[in-house]
């Protein structure tokens, strides 16, 4: 019993072919959109790649880019096929290609779905990459004279200003890092030497933050130093403290930024996937309807189209047995064409005398 059987008249078949031609062209456009989204995501990730410890999440935009390109190609071919399918003579040209094309498109559509789901599942990996990356960047903030790290100060300052964040999880992360290079510390000053000595690792730590942590929304000029001692500043009450620096951590800020982008992209890709599925179903119906028309022999008659010829279970069994027999093809079995030695062959067959009449 066929799955999803529908009967098509000749006009209905032609209309289906036209509609599918149009839908395939729209799919080419959505494929280009998919490609564009992948490219956009790649650029966004690479913008802040210096604060990420590893670039593993780049496989998501790469997947989207390849799927987008494949979508363009597959749907362009599909539009050509569907245009020809309205006419039975032209359909014969494509008959052999149709089935592999549909199987290909089915797997491709599965890839699109995987791409959409990946967008949603990437959060934890991103969180880890950002935490480690930011920690390293903050550690190398002072190393503006070391090649390979000299741009980290500028990157981190830009990040904190643009995303309105400070530190990794909190502004207090800066208290545990020496962010002023030793070349700008006056080692003849006893206060400086004392501070360096009092630290176990010999680092110059203080309770102050870089200027990029300053909030532009504060109503008073920025207080960057002596932050753990509010009494050291005039009228530095609770409210002033709240507004003085950016309160959010940069890990959270970047995570929110990328999660927002990925969710929008994921939603768009899911919609594209649904559309592709619709197109695939239409093409399958058209293929089966045209094949049945050819089997019936009369181009003008009605024919049936379906998604699967037999029920789901039977089709699964059939395919499974095909796969099993593929594995068995190199084994010796009772193929009648293989030479089997029999007792009869041992006897010689006497040659018959043939009388040849010689005519002169």
């Amino acid at each position: 019993m066929a799955v999803g059987k529908i009967t098509f008249t000749k006009t209905e078949r032609e209309k289906l072919a036209e509609v599918l031609w149009l839908l395939n062209w729209i799919s080419v456009v959505t494929g280009a959109i998919l490609f564009g989204l992948g490219l956009f995501l790649k650029i966004e990730i690479q913008k802040w790649q210096e604060v990420m410890s590893e670039q593993g999440i780049l496989y998501v935009p790469h997947m989207l880019i390849t799927t987008g390109l494949a979508a363009c190609g597959i749907n362009y071919l599909g539009s050509k096929i569907c245009l020809d399918c309205a006419d039975t003579n032209k359909f014969l040209r494509w008959k052999l290609v149709m089935m592999p094309y549909i199987v290909c498109t089915f797997f491709f559509t599965a890839c699109v779905l995987v791409g959409a789901l990946m967008c949603y599942s990437i959060r934890s990996q991103l969180e880890e990459a950002l935490y480690l990356g930011l920690r390293n960047t903050m550690r190398f903030y002072k190393d503006t004279d070391t090649p390979g790290r000299c741009y980290l100060k500028k990157t981190l300052d830009l990040l904190q200003i643009q995303f309105q964040c400070c530190g990794n999880t909190d502004y207090r992360d800066w208290f545990q890092i020496q962010w002023i290079s030793s070349r700008y510390l006056d080692m003849t000053n006893s206060a400086v030497v004392d501070r360096v000595r009092s630290n176990v690792e010999g680092k110059y730590l203080m309770d102050s933050v870089p200027f990029s942590c300053c909030s532009t929304l504060s109503s008073r000029p920025c207080i960057q130093h002596n932050l753990s001692n509010p009494g050291a500043h005039a009228h530095y009450d609770e409210r002033s403290q709240q507004l003085n620096l950016w309160r959010r951590g940069c890990q959270q800020a970047l995570l929110d930024h990328y999660t927002g982008i990925m969710q929008s992209i994921g939603l768009t890709v899911l919609l594209i996937w649904l559309f592709e599925l619709l197109v695939l179903t239409g093409v399958r119906y058209l293929q089966t309807a045209m094949e049945n028309v050819i089997r019936l022999g009369d181009p003008e008659s009605e024919s049936e189209g379906w998604i699967l010829e037999n029920s789901l279970a039977e089709t699964a069994c059939y395919n499974f047995s095909i796969i099993k027999s593929l594995g068995k093809c190199y084994q010796v079995d009772d193929d009648p064409n293989i030479n089997v030695p029999t007792a009869a062959a041992n006897q010689e067959v006497p040659s018959a005398q043939v009388q040849v009449n010689v005519t002169s």
Binding site: D157, L158, W179, I180, S181, Y184, S212, T216, R220, A234
Partner: protein, 348 residues
């Protein structure tokens, strides 16, 4: 004698009409670009109106928006006319409108030129507005508790960060302004009171700048306080240090930004003017032509002098049309009382 006379066969006229149609669509696109640039300029000027003193510069983007819209409409109409011009029967439909249309577009081209000139004169007014506006904004930087001025600190900080500039003409402008409010000064400290007393106007001035002046390209942490005191910081010389703070003044930075926008607009206007001139001359050519035969096309029907004379006499006669013409060499349709009796009716 005609100006720039060219002989036209029917096919050449068709080709001409096609070229005109394309030119018209280019003009429509240019009109759209002009409209959007005018809108963009209006939005940008409005965004920073807190930093500009009271000067009427909104007339420039308003005019550009109007010119852009009119360009679209005129050229859209022109496109339709040129499309019909190829066919002789359809051309007759437009024949009467062609001349007024061309006159209209000529005056419109003048408007476009005026617009381009206005863009360049706006530069001076903008500089003046910015100079006064920035000075005021910096003066009220500390007044975050006064309604109407409480956002100026945020505006100036965001401006200095975004445009990478400091102060009006340079960072030293901040040394002459008290940018820390008295409510955040510790009046119990001796140094604070000394500093206040040493100033004639009782202002708390210091050689420090707000944090938004800090240069992100600097290899060392930002030095905001005691900028002119070399001994206050290790390994620091303020005379040669140019990476610590933003060196550009905000007036210059903003001016460069707006000038850049105006230059793009000026370019668009030049393109529009050039295309328009070509169009009007070609339309004139097309108008004179006879649909099916060979015809002459020209820029002006008679020489420049004769055309000017004809137009002047038309304008003079327009002025005279309301006067009563008593002379005999006037309009024969005017009622002149005759001596002969009018003969009416069958009995005469």
């Amino acid at each position: 004698m005609a100006v720039l006379k060219v002989k036209f066969t029917k096919t050449r006229r068709d080709k001409l009409a096609q070229i005109l149609w394309i030119l018209n669509w280019i003009s429509v696109v240019t009109g759209v670009i002009l409209f959007s640039l005018g809108l963009f300029l209006k939005v940008e000027l409005k965004k920073r109106e807190e930093l500009m003193a009271e000067r009427d510069i909104q007339y420039v983007p308003n005019m550009l928006i109007a010119v852009g819209l009119i360009a679209c409409i005129i050229n859209f109409l022109g496109g339709k006319i040129c499309y019909d011009c190829v066919d002789s029967t359809k051309f007759l439909r437009w024949k009467l409108i062609m001349l007024p249309y061309i006159v209209c577009t000529f005056f419109f081209t003048l408007c476009v030129l005026v617009g381009a000139l206005m863009c360049y004169t706006m530069h001076w007014e903008l500089e003046e507005a910015l100079n006064l506006g920035l000075m005021q904004a910096m003066r009220f930087y500390k007044d975050t508790d006064m309604p109407g001025r409480c956002f100026l600190k945020h505006t100036v900080d965001t401006l200095q960060i975004q445009f990478q500039c400091c102060g009006n003409s340079g960072f030293k402008d901040w040394f002459q302004i008290q940018w820390i409010s008295n409510r955040y000064l510790d009046m119990s400290k001796k140094e604070v009171i000394d500093r206040l007393r040493s100033n004639v106007e009782g202002k708390y001035l210091m050689d420090g700048v707000p944090f938004s002046c800090c240069n992100i390209n600097s290899p060392r942490p930002c030095i905001q306080q005691q900028i002119t005191n070399n001994s206050a910081h290790f390994n620091y010389e303020h005379q040669t240090e140019d990476q610590n703070l933003w060196m550009k003044g905000c007036r210059q930075a903003l001016l460069e930004y707006y000038t850049h926008i105006m230059q793009s607009i000026g370019l668009t206007l030049s393109v529009l003017t050039g295309v328009r001139y070509l169009q009007t001359s070609l339309e004139n050519v097309l108008r004179q032509g006879d649909p099916d035969s060979e015809s002459d096309g020209w820029l002006l029907e008679n020489s420049l002098m004769e055309t000017a004379r004809t137009n002047l006499s038309i304008i003079k006669s327009l002025g005279k049309s309301n006067q009563i013409n008593t002379a005999n060499n006037g309009d024969p349709n005017i009622d002149v009382p005759s001596t002969s009796k009018a003969h009416y009716g069958p009995d005469n």
